[in-house]
């Protein structure tokens, strides 16, 4: 199934039901499972325990052990099982718990799932969804905190989504499951308990369409995942000084909706890209290069990148706080861009 149910408009005045990020994910997944019998979930502790982040709570009760499968700690076999089942027409959702674990199953993601359709001459599709929790901020240290979207977005054949709130957690998950390609859903651990308005019915958010989360005329901030919230807070702070910041949430980083970014930068003439991943080799570089290619003559200042320093994610909260980009750094970045022009 490839049809996308358009995301319903949110109720005016924010009167709609609010739901947490993790519950919104869970609701979208459950609705997608009701919609299509071919959808099943496999992973470590997804069934009996409901997932270590409660992502899969109550799904075993509703869907039973046939469709909710606890597997051994074997990520290569888990993703491979998903690839094989998807190639045979099912729509597997496999959960990798922490994104850092992709290191042990990268072959199945990168060399099998991503390339199968292409190298088979189009004779097969791999409608596989990989869910995983990413991001720093919980003192989980270097092997349980990374944001590795740049690794995956670099691989032709994969799609990568980064929900930034509860609304997108549900809609992007539904679209990932309905999509005929392998899609990695990067949930953010810090956001799991955050709430926002979430329509009750099933809806998909189109993959590859950015969302302008706030309109402004002075600076464009392109923020990934959890950084969207930080950017919106920064915009609020700067608005008090009369600086109008436009915040763009790409939602999907592969494919990447660059047109929305270009159009914004042509109006604001300044761009800042912010992500949790380390700056070096991060998507900020790609986005900056593309903006420069497409809108060089409109720029009043070089595109600024804000990311983590080139270090593993530290453990001690004081170090971790200094490591992850935040509202203050985004505010600072916007001021720098304005000072330069």
């Amino acid at each position: 199934m490839t049809t996308i149910t358009e995301a319903p408009a949110l109720a005016p005045g924010g009167t709609a039901r609010k739901l947490s990020y993790v519950k919104a994910f869970n609701e979208g997944l459950a609705q997608a499972m009701r919609e299509d019998e071919n959808v099943f979930v496999a992973g470590e502790d997804v069934a009996g325990y409901g997932g270590v982040f409660r992502m899969f709570d109550n799904l075993l009760d509703e869907f039973g052990p046939r469709r909710m499968i606890d597997t051994p700690i074997s990520e290569a076999a888990l993703v491979g099982l998903g690839v094989g089942a998807a190639a045979r027409g099912l729509r597997p959702v496999v959960d990798l718990m922490f994104m850092d674990f992709i290191g042990v199953c990268l072959d199945q993601i990168v060399n099998q799932a991503a390339k199968m359709k292409y190298m088979f001459g189009g004779s097969v599709s791999v409608p596989l969804t990989i869910t995983t929790a990413s991001g720093a901020g919980l003192g989980a240290a270097a092997q349980h905190s990374q944001s590795l979207e740049a690794w995956l977005a670099h691989v032709p054949g994969l799609k990568v989504v980064m929900p930034s709130d509860a609304y997108t957690a549900k809609g992007l998950t539904v679209s990932a499951i309905r999509d005929d390609n392998p899609v990695v859903v990067m949930l953010n651990k810090v956001l799991l308990g955050s709430t926002s308005e979430v329509p009750e019915q099933i809806y998909g958010i189109p993959l590859g369409q950015a969302h302008t989360a706030r309109h402004g005329s002075d600076v464009t901030v392109i923020a990934l995942g959890r950084m969207v919230g930080e950017a919106l807070a920064a915009a609020e702070e700067l608005a008090a000084e009369g600086i109008e910041v436009e915040v763009i949430d790409p939602r999907t980083v592969q494919p990447l909706d660059t047109e929305t970014m270009f159009a914004s930068v042509r109006r604001t003439n300044r761009a800042l890209v912010v992500h949790e991943a380390v700056t070096f080799g991060g998507l900020g570089g790609e986005i900056a290069a593309q903006i420069q290619d497409a809108a060089f003559d409109y720029l009043d200042a070089p595109v600024l990148r804000i990311g983590a320093p080139f270090s593993p994610v530290p453990f001690s909260p004081v170090l971790e706080k200094a490591y992850v980009p935040d509202q203050a750094r985004i505010v600072q970045g916007c001021r720098r861009l304005l000072e330069r022009s």
């Binding site: 076999a77 094989g84 088979f120 189009g122 409608p127």
Partner: protein, 336 residues
């Protein structure tokens, strides 16, 4: 502990069935042998781009296993995948055209030797990554079980692949989920150029299955009937919902790991190669068929001749086929 295969296939009471089976096995083996020797010549002649991992010597395994499968049974293969593809029924034309990089090839010229597939025949691809096909077959078996269908999956891999994690993870996953998947280890004694004695401390790879609670059997991989009989039993078990099984076929690769003849230091002796060739699978089956009257020399020769003609036609087709259009460079990167 792995069981040694019995010799049930030689039971004269089953002579009628076995005459059909013998002819089937013979034809599949001849098709592989000729496909591969011709491919080797084309490569030597500089006509084929890329790598070529020839299957010659191991024909009894692909033929013996595939003759025990249905069209809707699924297989995953290896970098040495031509034999599996031919035995599963993939067309010579599509295969040669792919080796030539033509748009009429099995992968539209996008995959080459290591990605030949035909999903309509349950051939889920050769694979350029050692061991990677194992979990994919586990997934195909999962799909069958999920839908309540009785097709099974078979994964082929070599002795070398049993040292990689995906094999062990896949074997355990198949066992714990009781999936209808057969693990066929083609032990040809070498992981590329490294002899088995230098890459594992056991002689029988099948021993590894025991640690996953998976029964196993060891067969003479030069005896197509023995491979076939062991597979028939394992298939019946898997279809009946009794879970995965491991078959180790002791076999040998006549050509080098890649290409036809290695240029570097000899990693194996000519005497060793000749020793295995003296027990050539096709020669063995032909001798047996002639001795017990299941086929005449004329019938066997006819199979060789028909296959040669078909191959000549397929090569001509490949050479006359158009190259891919560079305007279609991005075709099939994504679905939809």
């Amino acid at each position: 502990m792995a069981q040694r295969a019995s010799k049930k296939s030689a039971d004269p009471a089953a002579n009628h069935t076995s005459a059909q089976v013998v002819r089937d096995l013979h034809e599949r083996m001849v098709r592989i042998r000729l496909f591969e020797t011709e491919a080797g010549k084309l490569m030597e002649a500089g006509k084929l781009p890329g790598f070529l991992h020839l299957y010659v010597g191991q024909e009894a395994v692909a033929a013996g296993v595939m003759a025990a499968l249905r069209d809707d049974d699924q297989i995953t293969s290896t970098h040495r995948g031509h034999g599996h593809a031919v035995a599963k029924g993939v067309s010579f034309k599509h295969m040669y055209a792919e080796l030539y990089g033509r748009v009429t090839g099995a992968c539209l010229g996008r995959g080459g030797s290591m990605h030949i597939n035909d999903v309509s025949l349950g051939m889920l691809g050769a694979n350029g990554i050692v061991g990677a096909g194992v979990p994919i077959a586990v997934g195909a078996a999962f799909a069958a079980q999920y839908r309540g269908e009785d097709n099974i999956a078979v994964t082929f891999f070599g002795d070398g692949a049993t040292n990689i994690g995906s094999f062990h993870e896949g074997a355990n996953m198949a066992a714990i989920l009781r999936l209808p998947v057969l693990f066929i280890c083609e032990n040809n004694g070498y992981a590329e150029f490294t002899p088995q004695s230098k890459h594992m401390l056991i002689t029988d790879v099948a021993e590894r299955a025991a640690s996953y609670g998976m029964p196993s059997v060891i067969v003479d991989g030069m005896d197509a009937l023995a491979v076939h009989q062991a597979t028939v039993e394992a298939v019946a078990r898997a279809r009946a919902g009794e879970g995965p099984m491991f078959i180790e076929a002791k076999t040998y690769r006549y050509y080098d790991h890649q290409g036809v003849k290695g240029l570097r230091h000899p990693y194996r002796s000519d005497a060793e190669v000749e020793e295995w060739k003296a027990r050539d699978a096709i020669d063995l089956l032909e001798a047996r068929a002639l001795a017990d009257g299941t086929a005449t020399r004329a019938e066997l020769d006819d199979t060789w001749r028909r296959t040669r003609d078909e191959i000549a036609e397929a090569i001509a087709y490949a050479e006359a086929s158009p190259l891919p259009d560079t305007a279609d460079l991005l075709l099939n990167v994504y679905s939809g």
